[in-house]
């Protein structure tokens, strides 16, 4: 259970407390079902009163999420979940605010709000369903679609360089970034708990499969044959090891990260980097976030969780200090402040 200024529940809640009465309408086999499961797992563990959870979303398959969890919720307009959530959290900082968004919703039409909520470090949790495609509009390319992909609006292949979500988040001075795969409910649940614990904007990128319009889009990470070599599961304080028998590791050579085999070419265990998710300097976190095949594995788990003051806290502190310092205590005081005069 997490304790902070959000009121906790007096009794232990269960999954059932958050199951909505609405029919879940995602396609069978969609990765979103697993994300919903993870949320239902983690919310009772977080321990807040169930009335203190709030979901906000924009538009897209991901953004139907608020209808499928029994919390307070707003299903907003395309790209604007971050802006709506900002008003929610500022207006009532006693809420645990969660945003469900997709790659198009957050990084195309909502790109501006996305970078600014991260920059301000508002204390909310963003679950970003990255399936590298526009699903709800039936298969157009998104800002994370790999270059060259054939989609409904790129019949000759895309000629756009995609965003790497981690790079964008950390470029916007993100304080929390985690990446997980939609099939790994256990890791998703753990990461969501970590995100809830973090004070500030937490971005959880979920590499999600869209079986209809971008099936196997993450196959070079998730395929059984290669996944051990293409996934690095980060744990704070532990060496960055991967491979079937954890025989491989990440080493810093010069200014670059390299994948090496422990015991080969004189590489020893001490040479392998130890993960520090709490490091404030984002340098390593950026490098970890950008890793990927063919040369390096994709980093999964909590990549960055650095402590910085949050926007909502600073707003509250400023109001309190203004209250203490001002003689104007109510609207009548304000109306009569400054230069006034009496007509008799």
């Amino acid at each position: 259970m997490i304790t902070n200024r959000i009121t906790s529940s007096e009794k232990q809640l269960t999954k059932e407390d958050f199951i909505s009465d609405q029919m879940v309408k995602w396609c069978p086999g969609c990765g979103a079902h697993a994300i919903l499961k993870a949320v239902e797992n983690v919310f009772p563990e977080i321990g807040y009163k169930k009335e203190n959870f709030m979901f906000v979303s924009g538009i897209g398959c991901s953004s139907r999420f608020p209808y499928y969890v029994d919390t307070y919720g707003i299903h907003g307009i395309h790209g604007r979940a971050a802006a709506i959530a900002t008003g929610v959290k500022l207006s009532n900082p006693g809420l645990s605010v969660w945003i469900a968004t997709g790659d198009g919703d957050s990084m195309a039409i909502g790109g501006n709000h996305f970078i600014h909520i991260i920059r301000r470090n508002l204390d909310v949790n963003i679950i970003l369903f990255n399936n590298q495609i526009y699903g709800l509009t039936k298969g157009q390319y998104s800002p994370t679609t790999p270059i060259g992909s054939i989609t409904k609006t790129s019949p000759h292949g895309t000629v756009e360089h995609p965003f790497v979500t981690a790079g964008l988040v950390m470029g916007a001075q993100g304080t929390f970034f985690a990446r997980v795969i939609d099939t790994n409910i256990k890791m998703m649940t753990e990461v969501m708990f970590e995100a809830a614990k973090h004070d500030g904007t937490s971005v959880i990128e979920i590499l999600q499969n869209c079986i209809i319009f971008a099936d196997k889009t993450h196959a070079d990470i998730t395929d059984k044959e290669i996944r051990d070599d293409h996934q690095l599961h980060l744990k704070h304080g532990e060496p960055m090891l991967y491979g079937k028998n954890k025989e491989k590791g990440i080493q810093l050579k010069g200014t670059k990260l390299q994948g090496v085999v422990v015991g080969l070419n004189g590489v020893e265990m001490e040479d392998i980097l130890i993960h520090d998710q709490y490091e404030k300097n984002p340098g390593f976190h950026r490098m970890l976030g950008k890793m990927g095949p063919p040369d390096l594995p994709v980093a999964l788990g909590v990549i960055r969780s650095a402590e910085f003051s949050t926007y909502d806290d600073m707003v509250e502190v400023q109001i309190e200090s203004a209250r203490e310092q001002s003689n104007i205590k109510c609207a009548d005081d304000l109306l009569n402040s400054g230069e006034t005069f009496e007509i008799k």
């Binding site: 209808y67 604007r80 802006a83 009532n92 809420l95 707003v315 609207a331 009548d332």
Partner: protein, 617 residues
């Protein structure tokens, strides 16, 4: 002038200070207005400044002005033509001479009329010597030189001395209006309380200007505007933007709902954002958003969460907010959208006023998307209309667009300070915790208003959103008949607000030859014209609208009561178009002005007289 010079009593006087941006004309004008207010005059001010912060020195583009009308009777506008014009350089004279009444007084800094400055402002010959100013009373003073001389003992640079030329000009004006210096000193003392050096310089130069006017013989008569007979009470001078901010602050306090403002800076609305953010001590949350859309969307989030949520903007910003207004309409959440209108389309003339966003406010959204539309009349009335907009929005759970404009927002007038407890009650329709009968779209059968269930409250968890919902239960639905019903309910809910708003009044007789119809920020100039004509026995009346959607219930009776109806607007006929669609029985004449300027009393009287006399029209 010698001490025996005659003092002429005047009912009202229009004075305008003009100079280069940075010459301190706004300060001089504000000080003069505040002093006049304390001395008992009613007043109405309007600053007229360029969009550029500092256009090139001495050019026509850089001219910045401040106009004020003071009077011993109720003053409704900043006036048409100036009785006194203060000009600090040739460019100011060039751009403003057309606004001076023949026979009016022009106070000029003669030092600034050198060859270079004359050239920059496009004068071929020097107007001070070529006879072109013969129809005016010109008081030419070497303001720059005398200002520097008066500060000779203080060991400051000529450049620093020149910055206080505005005080010298103000000193001349205070003398011309038979005002002592004490009141102005007091304002300076409070303004520069923590800058004693600047205070001293300003006082010295102000006094020097006053004494200069007293001594020279160029001033052949002074004015006196007797005290206005204002209703008893405590007063202050207030601009429309500050009044809007304060009306919202008062409404938040009275409703018990915390104020939240999500806004993005835009001329001429920014001052509301600045004013509200100054008052965080009252527990107000202000979010300067990354763009207009985030401004309104954050407000919608705050509204769902229980705040009195507001977003403030001007025309182009309202365009950007359109989609989100639709979200507030379909989620049936309270939201006040203030649009301080400016001349459009697109960026248009950002510092000039216009009433051309009316149709955008009424209809500028996708889908059937009714909102309440109101408009304020004068700077001080912005307080009451902002308050009422918040009251209606909260009590009816629906967005309200409040239209003001640049003329109201930047203009100022005297404001009789009310007690907040005397303002009408505001009762938010809050749902009670653990109410088993709560349903998101269950309504009050009379008003059709749904309840406001705030996150954090036990037993009321629910979702709202942009997708159409079933009535009562609020479940996502594409049922054809449900959609039609919900569209009609939202429409009816807005229309029912007509039961709560005041009936429309006519200023004047209940019938007559010509009914002048107007709305929003033009009330003052039109009212002045109407009163003058009524005094001369003309059968003219004035119906000035503040409630536009819905219209007051008696609108049709009002419009049918005169022989002719003319709709006057600072746009191309938007209210007339709206009235034609709502009340097609009436024949509407139009008078439209789209110049970024207010109506002038003189032009209106001429037009109204023509309309009354011309039997054909």
């Amino acid at each position: 002038m010698n001490k025996q010079a005659p003092i002429k009593e005047k009912e009202s006087v229009v004075i305008k200070f003009v100079g280069d941006s940075g010459d301190g004309m706004q300060l001089a004008g504000t000080l003069f207005s505040d002093t006049s207010a304390v001395l008992g005059n009613d007043l109405f001010t309007f600053p007229d400044y360029p969009a550029e912060i500092r256009a090139p020195h001495n050019t026509l583009a850089g001219v910045s002005g401040f106009q004020v009308q003071i009077g011993s009777e109720k003053i409704f506008s900043s006036g048409d033509l100036c009785d006194v014009l203060v000009v600090m350089n040739p460019a100011s004279l060039k751009t403003n001479i057309k606004w001076v009444r023949p026979g009016g007084t022009i106070i000029i800094d003669g030092d600034s009329f050198n060859e270079k400055a004359l050239g920059k402002s496009g004068y071929q010959t020097n107007p001070l010597t070529d006879g072109s100013l013969d129809v005016y009373k010109v008081i030419q003073a070497p303001i720059t030189t005398v200002t520097r001389d008066s500060l000779a003992d203080m060991n400051i640079s000529a450049r620093a001395a020149d910055r206080s030329r505005n005080m010298f000009a103000l000193g001349i004006v205070t003398f011309l209006f038979s005002q002592g210096l004490e009141t102005t000193y007091k304002f300076l003392e409070s303004k520069f309380a923590d800058k004693p050096d600047i205070l001293e310089i300003n006082k010295v130069v102000l006094t020097a200007g006053h004494n200069f006017a007293d001594t020279i013989e160029a001033v052949d008569s002074a004015f006196k505007v007797p005290e206005a007979k204002l209703k008893k009470g405590r007063y202050r001078n207030i601009s429309g933007n500050v009044a809007t901010a304060w009306g919202l602050i008062a409404a938040a306090e009275r409703s018990g709902r915390p104020l939240f403002l999500g806004s993005y800076p835009i001329t001429p609305a920014t001052e509301i954002l600045m004013e509200i953010t100054k008052n965080k001590n009252l527990g107000i949350k202000v979010f300067q958003a990354e763009d207009e859309i985030a401004g309104i969307c954050s407000a919608i989030g705050a509204s769902y969460t229980g705040s009195l949520a507001v977003t403030t903007t001007s025309g182009p910003g309202l365009s950007l907010k359109s989609e989100a207004i639709g979200l507030a309409v379909i989620t049936e959440l309270p939201l006040v959208i203030v649009n301080v209108q400016r001349a459009g389309p697109s960026t248009g003339m950002p510092t000039k006023s216009e009433q051309s966003d009316l149709l955008q406010a009424l209809w500028g959204r996708n889908g059937e998307c009714p909102v309440i539309v109101m408009a304020a009349s004068t700077p001080a009335s912005c307080f009451y209309f902002a308050y009422e907009a918040a009251k209606i929005s909260i009590e009816h759970m629906t967005p309200v667009i409040l239209l003001t404009d640049g003329y109201l927002g930047n203009g100022s007038e005297l404001f009789r300070i009310p007690r907040v407890s005397d303002l009408p009650e505001i009762i938010p329709p809050l749902a009670k915790a653990n109410d088993e009968n709560y349903k998101p779209y269950k309504r009050d059968p009379e008003t059709l208003v749904r309840q406001w269930a705030l996150p954090g409250t036990e037993g009321l968890r629910h979702r709202v959103g942009g997708l159409e919902k079933t009535d009562i239960h609020g479940v996502v639905s594409t049922d054809p008949l449900n959609h039609q019903m919900m569209v009609q309910i939202r429409e009816a809910k807005v229309k029912k607000v007509a039961d709560r708003i005041p009936l429309q009044k006519i200023e004047g007789e209940n019938s007559g030859d010509l009914l002048v119809v107007s709305w929003g920020g033009t009330e003052g100039s039109i009212r002045t014209a109407i009163r003058e004509m009524q005094k001369k026995g003309k059968k003219i009346g004035h119906a000035h609208f503040n409630h536009i959607m819905p219209l007051p219930k008696n609108t049709i009776e009002i419009l049918s009561s005169y022989r002719k109806v003319v709709v006057c607007e600072l746009n191309n006929g938007q209210f007339a178009k709206y009235l034609r669609s709502e009340i097609p029985e009436i024949k509407y004449l139009q008078y439209n002005k789209i110049q970024g300027l207010p109506f002038f009393t003189g032009e209106l009287i001429e037009i109204f007289n023509q309309l009354i006399e011309n039997q054909q029209s």
